[in-house]
């Protein structure tokens, strides 16, 4: 049960009114010296005691009337959105933990920042009745998932984001997407201000030039290093296609091989299986679950590759392609949402290779796919951003958790639907009881007179 208008409980001080009236008007037995008690009835003391008891009952009823009225004014709310009992005042919390590369750096506490974030997540105050941790490397996605999780729950809701808040990682538009009745706390994890990473290599002539970027708060250092092309530079990419497909895609493949620079051609081998490949069924049957870390990374990079996504969006499969059963994982979908690229672990001649199953042989799409496989993950460079959102900016984006959810937002009920009516009914019933007690008290007096006369 929650109270929509808890300030009304201040009205409980009104309970003192009937108590004060009772104390002030209570007929205290007045001491009176008297010559003899012989003419006073014996049972009169009992009668007084009975009346005192009735007076206390009357006082209790009157206090209960005031309390019921105050409780009704406080607008109790018994039900949850599901209609069952719930403690709407308890807190539901979704904790979004930034797992991006920048959090892998050392924090100002000397530990890895991600560990600090996870530890903080376990010690957030106040304690929440229900909470969930969502670890993502993209904060907007984390906010969306947290909002979705909270949407199905009642009570007070809060999202806590633990991140270093590199500039660009979170925008005001992302924050605006969080419903207003959900509190938002942005907890900044301080990390080292400078970091270095290799930028995508460039093939210039017969050498591969790799820039190493070091971003600091006030400067950027780029250090180029040259290396010779590998002896078997392109053995890492295998295109399994029918002869006509291979012939049609030969220029695209050649271009990709010229432009692209494989990250680690000795170990990372990729096979692209086109729809017309003669041994497609055999290759598919030999596929297994992705079991290499670099395969996960490559699939994830491909999923976020904007070039590949744009190319996939231009494809509409002429037939509905059923998704492959596990262990295949969807990498990209066409405009209608049908799986366009699926990934699995294949088995090449030598080493395990990542098998990318393409369901379309569209030239532009396949060229983009082949080119994407040959790119180093440039998105990692964003993790070098040394400038973070300022505490002032974060403060403007934060908002406190509402004390109690309004029924209109959490339950779909209006304020008029509060359960205060039950207290009003109780107050009326108590009022009737008070009248009955008073009438009983009045009716009891003649019997006392009779009793005294007999005595």
């Amino acid at each position: 049960m929650t109270w929509l208008n808890p300030w009304a409980w201040i009205g409980l001080v009104a309970v003192g009114v009937p108590i004060a009236i009772h104390l002030l008007t209570r007929a205290q037995p007045r001491p009176q010296p008297f010559p003899t008690l012989r003419f006073l009835g014996r049972a009169t003391t009992t009668a007084v005691r009975r009346r005192v008891l009735r007076d206390r009952a009357l006082l209790a009823v009157r206090v209960a009337i005031v309390a019921a009225i105050v409780a009704a004014c406080a607008q109790p709310f018994f039900r949850t959105p599901a209609g069952g009992p719930a403690d709407a005042s308890s807190l539901r919390r979704a904790v979004v933990i930034d797992t991006s590369a920048s959090l892998q750096r050392t924090s100002t506490h000397g530990r890895q920042a991600i560990d600090v974030a996870r530890e903080l997540a376990g010690h957030l105050e106040p304690p929440a009745a229900t909470s969930v941790s969502i670890e993502v490397d993209r904060l907007p996605e984390g906010l969306a998932r947290a909002t979705t999780w909270l949407h199905s729950r009642g009570g007070r809701q809060e999202i806590v984001v633990l991140s270093d808040f590199q500039r660009g990682a979170l925008a005001q538009s992302d924050v605006a997407g969080v419903p207003a009745d959900i509190g938002l706390r942005l907890v900044k994890i301080d990390t080292a201000l400078s970091a270095s990473a290799d930028a995508p290599a460039e093939r210039i002539g017969d050498r591969v030039w790799t820039p190493r970027l070091t971003l600091e708060a006030d400067r950027t250092i780029v250090a180029w290093s040259a290396s010779a092309l590998p002896a078997r530079p392109f053995d890492d990419l295998q295109v399994i296609a029918s002869p006509p497909e291979a012939a049609r895609l030969a220029p695209a493949v050649a271009a990709a091989r010229i432009i692209g620079v494989p990250a680690d051609p000795e170990r990372h081998r990729i096979a692209v299986l086109l729809p017309g490949a003669t041994d497609r069924a055999q290759v598919l049957s030999a596929a297994g679950a992705i079991d290499q870390r670099w395969m996960f990374g490559t699939v994830e990079r491909l999923r976020h590759d904007s070039t590949l996504a744009a190319a996939a969006a231009g494809v509409v499969l002429d037939r509905s392609v059923p998704a492959e059963t596990p262990p295949f994982a969807v990498v990209a979908r066409d405009r209608t949402g049908s799986p366009l690229i699926e990934a699995a672990s294949g088995h090449g001649s030598k080493d395990p290779q990542l098998l990318l199953v393409a369901h379309s042989d569209d030239g532009l799409f396949v060229s983009a796919l082949i080119a994407s496989t040959q790119r180093t993950d440039a998105s990692a460079l964003s993790e070098l951003e040394p400038i973070t959102l300022t505490p002032e900016e974060l403060a403007t984006w934060q908002r406190p958790t509402p004390p109690t959810p309004t029924p209109s937002t959490t339950t779909g009920q209006s304020l008029q639907d509060s359960d205060g009516r039950w207290f009003w009914i109780a107050a009326l019933a108590l009022l009737a009881l008070e009248g009955w007690v008073r009438r009983t008290r009045r009716a009891a007096s003649p019997s006392e007179v009779t009793h005294a006369r007999v005595a």
Binding site: P29, P33, F34, P35, T36, L37, T44, A47, V449
Partner: protein, 318 residues
Amino acid sequence: MSALQADVVAALGDLELAARLVVEGMRAGPHRSPFRGFSTEFQQHRSYRAGDDLRHLDWKLLARTDRLYTRQFRDTTNMSVMLVVDTSASMGFGGGFGGGSRARGAGREGVTKLRYATILAAALAYLAVNEGDAAGLLSASDGPLTYLPARGGRAHLRSLVARLDRLTPSGTWQPARVIARAAELLKRRGLIVVLSDFYDAEDETLRELKRARRRGHDVALLHTLARPEITFDYRGDVEFRDLESGATRVVPADAVGAGYRSAVGDFLTRWRSRAQQHGIDYALFPTDEPPARALRTYVVKRDSRPRHSTSPTSTGHA
């Protein structure tokens, strides 16, 4: 002289003065004295009136004139008046609220019954001494008897009044014992005036009163009660404390008032009827009545009622 209010009289520090004022106020009426002594000196004849004692009928005159005449005598003999005053704690009740114990009563308001009784007693003593009679005092509570033999004279009157003035309410009293003692202490037949609220030992008290009557004494009961004892006009819950026993009882006064008044009415009626039955003067003296007026009313009634005296020669004077 108009009758002074009871509280005014009671407020007088000089009890003798108070008694004199009462007597003076009482004399504004047609009667001089409440005492009709035992006289042997013939004064006059008057026509027989219904109620006259047939023993005083002049039979010889009846035989000669065929008319009924009653012989009247002048008060020539000294009469002894023994004033018996109840000084029990219940006599300290004045009708006011509160439990303060003052020298002359427990109430904050009103004249205490004892004060009122002492005023009456002093007035009677004053009256008796002025008439040439003797007045004595006997009072008692838990302690020894306060006794002053019945004598005449101004000096004795002052002594008696001083004794009365020193009486304070305390403890309980044994009316039967005191009345019996009073009857014994009167050397000859006299008047025993008992001033009390008569709450204690009704039957024993009545028994001794009857015995005193049999010894030839005239007996008068001046039943002294405060008005609240009769009307019981209390309100709300009241914790009554018995002035003598100290027992307390909380009662809803509004509820028990009617029953109380009925019981007190029965009590007063019982005393009045018993006294009348045994030839005892009885009069109720509420303490809010001006003592002079109350005493005069009493004397009028005493004069007008038939004599039950055991004396063969006494009769009232006009």
